[in-house]
């Protein structure tokens, strides 16, 4: 326990990166204490939560000792010096394994670090380990991991969301200070909402994808998952920027994302698209988001009714585009150069077929099949090309909306966290729960999820703030202002092995 100068003593693992930075720099806490506290949480709770696939215990403690020496010497410290970071296991690290939660890559040791990992390392971050995900990032519940199901820290019988469920659960349970996730159709934002934390999907191209195992190359983005908006801003400043090793990364300068965190909402126009508040949304989720919009109005924002007319076509477009691209990206897992190889195949074709049969889980196979079908001769025009045209209509919808408002406020998930096993029988039902998140991936716009309340059962509910391309400053400004005026207290999950009460 450490006295932070506030009236309560707080456990180091419960703090944010910005709080810890100040405490470590002023000598009130050592990095070794912080890292030890994080591993104590993991040792105490991760058998139940199962957020982590792999821990970097020794190197983390060595790194912490090194940081403590730097501080003692009075050396210049990096922007993220000494801050514990958890990494979703589809991010390549030289250390440990990079499995994408798939049997196909069990034992795979990446020969390089992802750019985001390098940037955080250069800024002084301490990596705690690799977190669980839906296999190859395909899923909305982390139930598709080949190795373990991660539980929601708020209620261990429920899912943390997906595909970045491990990262979300680790942040929510203070099993790390911050984490990185990836988002192709909502995989940062939905688990953030279901676990009561903050998560940001940047504009497509804002953050380098080099070292992110590819799922859908025109949709994937890496982003931060944190306990508050300030930590999102701090991480974004470190990880963003043009990377010559990712030709889809944008040549757009990186601003100081923390510079907007103390601004207010006066004069801002916030759009509420009617299509996001219609059928299919849980009444408590709607009420919670609407209450948040009222708070924003009270803070001086003008609320504008807008329309995104093609919203309902988002799921079909996404499930063609993402799966078509996935079928191309996952073709490489053939047993030849790395990963699982089926034994006893008599020839290479049969080796490919048997390797994919045993290496991939059911959801991955389903999506590859869907994608291959959509791209196959005779169907390409009807499915893939059609979907990419509708995608243009999506982008126009957003452009029209942003002509009359600065940002959109919408729900993240139609319901709070559902029970483990509840949606696994019906893939289409699982897909439909992505309806509020996929549009931002299709249009390439930045979208931030953050807590806006709790259900009557005590489960977190999250809203999204969405802005135009490279509008991260706007998104962070709105989110930060709402965070300061949210009108309710943020809770921590009641971790004692029983349901949220």
């Amino acid at each position: 326990m450490v006295r932070t100068g506030k009236s309560e003593t707080r456990e180091p693992s419960a703090l944010t990166a910005h709080e810890l930075r100040g405490l470590m720099q002023s000598g009130k806490m050592t990095c070794t204490e912080v890292v030890r506290a994080v591993f104590e949480r993991i040792d105490r709770f991760d058998q139940q939560i199962k957020a982590y696939l792999y821990l970097f215990r020794e190197t983390a403690l060595e790194g912490a000792a090194h940081v403590d020496e730097k501080i003692k010497r009075g050396d210049e410290l990096g922007a993220f010096e000494g801050i514990p970071v958890a990494l979703k296991d589809n991010l390549c690290t030289r250390e440990g394994e990079t499995t994408c939660a798939s049997r196909m890559l069990k034992g795979f040791r990446a020969p390089y670090d992802a750019t985001v990992v390098e940037r955080l390392a250069n800024a002084g971050a301490i990596f705690i380990g690799k977190t669980n995900l839906d296999e190859f990032a395909m899923g909305s519940s982390t139930e598709n991991s080949a190795f373990q199901v991660t539980a929601n820290p708020w209620d261990l019988t429920r899912v943390p969301g997906g595909s970045s469920g491990g990262s979300a659960a680790a942040v929510a349970a203070d099993e790390t200070i911050v984490a990185l996730g990836s988002d192709t159709g909502g995989s940062i934002r939905q688990p953030a909402a279901l676990c009561g934390i903050a998560g940001l999907k940047p504009t497509y191209g804002r953050v380098s994808r080099y070292g992110l195992v590819a799922f859908a190359s025109s949709l994937d983005q890496i982003g931060p998952m944190t306990k508050d908006v300030e930590d999102l801003a701090l991480m974004m400043t470190v990880i963003s920027g043009k990377d010559p090793r990712d030709s889809t990364s944008a040549e757009v300068p990186v601003p100081d994302y923390a510079s907007v965190l103390d601004r207010d909402l006066k004069g801002m126009k916030l759009g509420v698209p009617r299509e996001y508040f219609g059928e299919g949304i849980d009444a408590e989720v709607r009420e919670s988001v609407e209450r948040a919009i009222d708070r924003m109005r009270e803070c001086g924002a003008e609320i504008v009714q807008v329309s995104l007319p093609n919203t309902k076509y988002g799921i079909p477009v996404y499930y063609i585009v993402a799966n078509a691209e996935a079928s191309a990206n996952l073709a490489r897992y053939d047993g030849v150069r790395y990963g699982y190889r089926a034994p006893d195949a008599s020839d290479t074709i049969s080796m490919y077929e048997k390797t994919k049969r045993s290496g991939f889980g059911a959801e991955v196979k389903r999506r590859i099949m869907l994608g291959t079908y959509a791209l196959s001769s005779g169907y390409y025009d009807a499915y893939y090309l059609k979907a990419q045209k509708v995608r243009t209509l999506f982008r126009r919808d957003f452009e029209n909306a942003f002509a009359v408002c600065d940002a959109l406020i919408v729900p993240t998930s139609p319901t709070p966290a559902f029970r483990i096993g509840e949606k696994t029988d019906d893939p289409l039902k699982m897909y439909l729960s992505d309806v509020y998140t996929i549009s931002a991936n299709l249009a390439g716009v930045p979208a931030l999820a953050m807590p806006c309340g709790y259900s009557r059962e005590g489960l977190p509910i999250g809203l999204q703030v969405i802005a135009k391309p490279f509008g991260e400053l706007t998104v962070l400004r709105v989110a930060s202002a709402y965070e300061r005026h949210r009108g309710f207290s943020l809770r921590k999950p009641p971790l004692n092995g029983t349901k949220a009460n």
């Binding site: 020969p111 077929e353 995608r391 289409l428």
Partner: protein, 95 residues
Amino acid sequence: MPVSRDDVEYVAKLARIELTEAEKNTLTSQLSSILGHIETLNELDTKGVEPTFHVLDVKNVFREDEVVPSLPVEEALKNAPARDGGFFKVPKIIE
């Protein structure tokens, strides 16, 4: 348009995935149901609409044509299921 079992077998061949009989049955009905939902896209008139293959306005991202170090052979081979010297080893390709 419903997906037939023949379609599933054909697509599995394209994707080089060996499916069990049970998987073929399940996938036939699941793909039909998912593709049925996807067919709602036909409600939209997209005549004259350009497809979005790329959300960012980038073209021809090149680097200077100079030789830079690449992944060393030993690193590239370190995860190989089977190797022979500087090569990945695989079962025979041609009869």
